[in-house]
């Protein structure tokens, strides 16, 4: 019998149908992956399964959990049976120490102290959190925080776990660890899992069934094997397939020999598939290590920023950056990668001038630098996007008027001008495709939209260098692709771009120079394709798959080009 059952479920909020005619059944112990562009209703779908989190609006049809309507569940049962994990690891923490956080839900349902301690002991040991029990949650890394959050749900022994993009804020290694735990919970304890995710490479192999959601309705819902065949030619959802499957589909089209083979989903299956046609595949030699100097178009450009023996630390026991020496040239698009805590953010904040180096020097040409935080919310202080983007012009005009002593009739006009956008800004809004947001509150926009508004806000000041911290974080594949294209257009318009990223294929696809930080220093500084071709683990999924055949194949396009797929 199905654990979760949607019966003709529709949800209407402020006259808009957010979810329409959902009919899904999920059995106990299944691992269900939900994909779809942002705004397709993924989060709404999950929140409807949790009584406490149901959004306001009109509901048609019903959702059954264990054949009980969700709306009729009793409070304690709903709290314990269904666990909900949110996207951002920080916001969902309530208390200050790990043990208190894990105990929090158990205390809420009024459990006896002895029993609470038993559950904490059991669960924290399973998660390997027992060493961190008395640590302050603010001192944990993002991955550890998310584990604490998950642990705090599991002490309640839920039947159903709902996860809303749980790894979007984590670096690749932390998110892999997190997913491994999820898989164990699913396999060893048969906990039913429904998860929203954008980065499908890691998670697709674990899933039993996949739901593809678009504009509030279920477009595809099948086991992962079937669904791959179905969406192979879908305009939207082909982007949501793992890279391995994409290559595997292309290969099958070209080689009839593979016709009856299953589509590969994990790297293991993919390599097995490649072995089968190994004689027919062309093998390429590994390029010798070329360095940036040779055919880089920017190599002879003017240096905008040059650092000289840069050191940074907050205290003497923990030096974050050591002896950083490199330069940024006019027109470059640089991606900075590295594990959590390797000092990526610190480095770009030093470059921008938000932080001052403890030792060493940064030479900047007379340039304007724009810096974008990971969390775009920090950039917004006005009620509407329009005001957000027009403010600077207004104050500058007023200031000038005051300085020249022309505070009189003229000034009135200028204030009126203030809330109007100039042509430049309009062009940018159009370019980034967010004109429709102009009267919205920036806080109501999605993460990707906020990102773009913040970028426009910084571009108004006409910077020479745009520095971005994790711009690809939490974006769905299509938005990510669009953002990258937009950034590339800006680059060709003579804007120098520096960004940090955890998303290796994003860097490999769009940056022309990649800097890898390790142990506080620059480990590698080269063309991204070279960097990832050298690595075995810290590299893209495509590269892991085709390494033995095309050592320099890092992104899908490389493989397509080399093998004529």
């Amino acid at each position: 019998m199905a654990l979760v059952k949607f019966e003709d479920f529709s949800f209407i909020s402020s006259d808009k149908e957010i979810l329409s005619d959902i009919n899904i059944e999920v059995d106990e112990g299944e691992f269900v992956l939900i994909c779809g562009p942002s705004g397709s209703g993924k989060t709404t779908l999950l929140s409807h399964l949790k009584k406490e989190l149901r959004p306001n609006g009109k509901i048609k049809g019903k959702i059954l959990l264990d054949s009980v309507d969700i709306r009729d569940l009793d409070d304690t049962k709903s709290a314990t049976d269904v666990g909900f994990l949110f996207q951002n690891p920080d916001n969902q923490l309530v208390t200050d120490t790990v043990i208190q956080e894990v105990a929090f839900p158990l205390e809420n349902i009024g459990m006896e102290t002895e029993e609470i301690r038993n559950r904490i002991a059991e669960m924290t040991a399973f998660f390997g959190l027992d060493r961190l029990l008395y640590k302050n949650v603010n001192e944990l890394s993002g991955g550890e925080k998310q584990l604490v959050n998950l642990c705090s749900l599991l002490v309640l022994k839920p039947k159903l776990l709902l996860l809303d993009e749980p790894t979007s804020q984590l670096d690749p290694i932390a998110s892999y660890e997190f997913l491994t735990i999820l898989r164990r919970l699913n396999e060893e304890f048969s906990i039913t899992i429904m998860i929203n995710e954008h980065s499908v490479n890691n998670i697709f192999p674990f899933a039993d069934k996949v739901i593809f959601l678009n504009n509030g309705s279920v477009e595809y819902f099948h086991t992962k094997q079937d669904i791959i065949q179905e969406v192979a030619n879908d305009e939207v959802f082909k982007f949501y397939l793992p890279d391995v499957s994409k290559i595997s589909l292309l290969l099958r089209k070209k080689y009839p020999k593979l016709k009856d083979e299953k589509t590969a989903i994990s790297i293991r299956e993919g390599r097995k598939l490649l072995n089968k046609i190994a004689d027919e595949l062309e093998v390429f030699p590994k390029n010798t290590n070329k360095t940036l100097s040779e055919d880089c178009p920017y190599y002879n450009n003017e240096e905008l920023i040059k650092t000289n023996g840069l050191y940074f630390a907050y205290n003497k026991d923990n030096i974050i950056l050591k002896d950083i020496e490199f330069s940024i040239k006019q027109g470059e698009f640089i991606g900075i990668v590295g594990g959590n805590g390797s000092g990526k953010t610190t480095l770009i904040q030093l470059l921008a001038g938000l932080l001052k180096p403890v030792k060493g020097k940064i030479m900047r040409k007379d340039i304007k630098i724009a810096y974008l935080y990971q969390n775009p919310m920090i950039h917004f202080s006005k009620e509407t996007v329009k005001k957000e983007l027009s403010l600077d012009g207004e104050t500058e005009l007023n200031n000038k008027a005051k300085l020249k002593g022309r505070v009189g009739l003229n000034n009135k006009n200028q204030i009126n001008h203030g809330t109007r956008l100039n042509d430049e800004t309009r062009k940018l809004l159009k370019f980034f495709n967010i004109e429709h947001l102009i009267d919205q509150n920036p806080y109501d926009c999605s993460g990707g939209e906020q990102q773009k508004i913040a970028i426009i806000k910084s571009l108004i000041k006409k910077p020479d260098i745009l520095i971005l911290d994790e711009p690809s974080k939490g974006l769905d594949p299509i938005s990510k692709h669009n953002l990258a294209k937009e950034l590339q257009t800006l680059q060709s318009d003579d804007l120098t771009i520096v960004m940090t990223s955890h998303d290796l294929s994003f860097v490999a696809n769009y940056c022309h120079r990649c800097i890898m930080l390790f142990d506080g220093g620059i480990q590698v500084d080269n063309d991204p394709k070279e960097v990832f071709a050298e690595n075995n683990f810290y590299t893209t999924f495509v590269n892991r798959l085709v390494k033995d055949y095309i050592p320099n194949g890092v992104v899908l396009d490389d493989v397509k080009e080399k093998w004529n797929l």
């Binding site: 949790k50 406490e52 989190l53 409070d75 304690t76 709290a79 314990t80 666990g83 909900f84 949110f86 951002n88 916001n91 969902q92 923490l93 309530v94 208390t95 200050d96 120490t97 043990i99 208190q100 105990a103 929090f104 839900p105 158990l106 205390e107 809420n108 349902i109 009024g110 459990m111 102290t113 002895e114 609470i116 301690r117 904490i120 949650v137 603010n138 959050n149 705090s152 749900l153 309640l156 921008a352 001038g353 938000l354 932080l355 304007k368 630098i369 810096y371 935080y373 969390n375 919310m377 920090i378 950039h379 917004f380 202080s381 600077d392 104050t395 500058e396 200031n399 806080y443 000041k461």
Partner: protein
């Protein structure tokens, strides 16, 4: 982590007795004994960075009280004329000094108390009676440093942007400060929506809360309690017989020649020692 754990309620009892005694026992020998013991205890418990500043503040406050008391209180028999008809009394000078000293002792006792009893221990006692209030305190404990860190980031960005543009002057500075605050408030409100949801999703307010903290009454607790109760009763008996206190008004009855070495003084001394003994014992394990 400590080896000898004493139930927080007993700590509270003990420190409460100490604080009351700091007021009651005004004999300078007793006060000095108290001061030496409590400073030793603080020393063993570990002096924190800010301690020097705190103790300076305590002493300043003490000096102010010692000066003000004779200026406003004119009780006492021994008049010391200062100017024409205006006089101060020797007794009120002494009383001021003793009062100031007692206050400093109390503040020191609190410092030591903070070291001995963590907020977690306090919450434990609190959460049995007031479960809601205690969870709000716990949330505040996480929130305040978080807000601080956010404001730091926002200010960093604000400084950066102001540096780039040519906005200067007081009005712009005020504007940028309000801007920072607006950003912080809206950001925080936005994020606390999720926190509230996460609390609700984990069954907050479904039933009466319990607590995960657990303390058992051990042998050491019983010994400790009996010890402090016996010594405290003996010391109070001494107080009733006039030991350990000096009369100030109308005239001072105290001479430095009488060192009060008797059973009452000793029990007062012993009352101050058990924590020092336990702390030293704890240290001995590691050396």
């Amino acid at each position: 982590m400590r080896m000898t754990k004493i139930h927080p309620i007993i700590y509270i009892l003990y420190y409460a007795i100490l604080i009351i005694f700091a007021f009651l026992f005004t004999n300078p020998y007793y006060s000095l004994t108290f001061a030496i013991c409590i400073l030793t205890l603080i020393g063993i418990q570990g002096i924190q960075k800010g301690f020097k500043g705190t103790i300076k503040g305590f002493i300043m406050m003490g000096v102010v009280i010692a000066i003000i008391n004779p200026l406003i209180s004119h009780q006492g028999a021994t008049r010391l004329y200062v100017w024409n008809n205006y006089f101060i009394t020797l007794e009120s000078v002494v009383y001021g000094i003793i009062l100031a000293f007692a206050l400093i002792l109390i503040l020191l006792t609190f410092t030591s108390f903070n070291k001995a009893v963590s907020y977690q221990d306090l919450l434990y006692i609190f959460s049995k009676k007031f479960p809601m209030a205690s969870i709000i305190i716990i949330m505040a404990l996480r929130f305040i440093p978080l807000l601080n860190r956010r404001l730091e980031e926002i200010n960093k960005l604000q400084d950066f942007e102001n540096e780039n543009s040519d906005k200067k002057g007081l009005i712009n500075k005020i504007k940028s400060i309000t801007d920072s605050l607006i950003v912080m408030i809206s950001w925080t409100l936005e994020e606390s929506m999720i926190t509230a949801k996460s609390m609700k999703a984990r069954g907050y307010k479904t039933t009466k809360r319990t607590s995960y903290l657990i303390y058992k009454i051990n042998r050491i607790d019983k010994i400790f309690t009996s010890f402090i109760i016996i010594t405290a009763i003996l010391a109070i008996l001494g107080l009733i017989y006039g030991d350990g206190r000096i009369n100030i008004y109308p005239t001072i009855t105290f001479s430095f020649n009488q060192f009060p070495l008797d059973i009452y003084y000793l029990s007062f001394l012993f009352l101050l020692l058990p924590l020092i003994y336990l702390e030293i014992k704890e240290e001995m394990i590691w050396h």
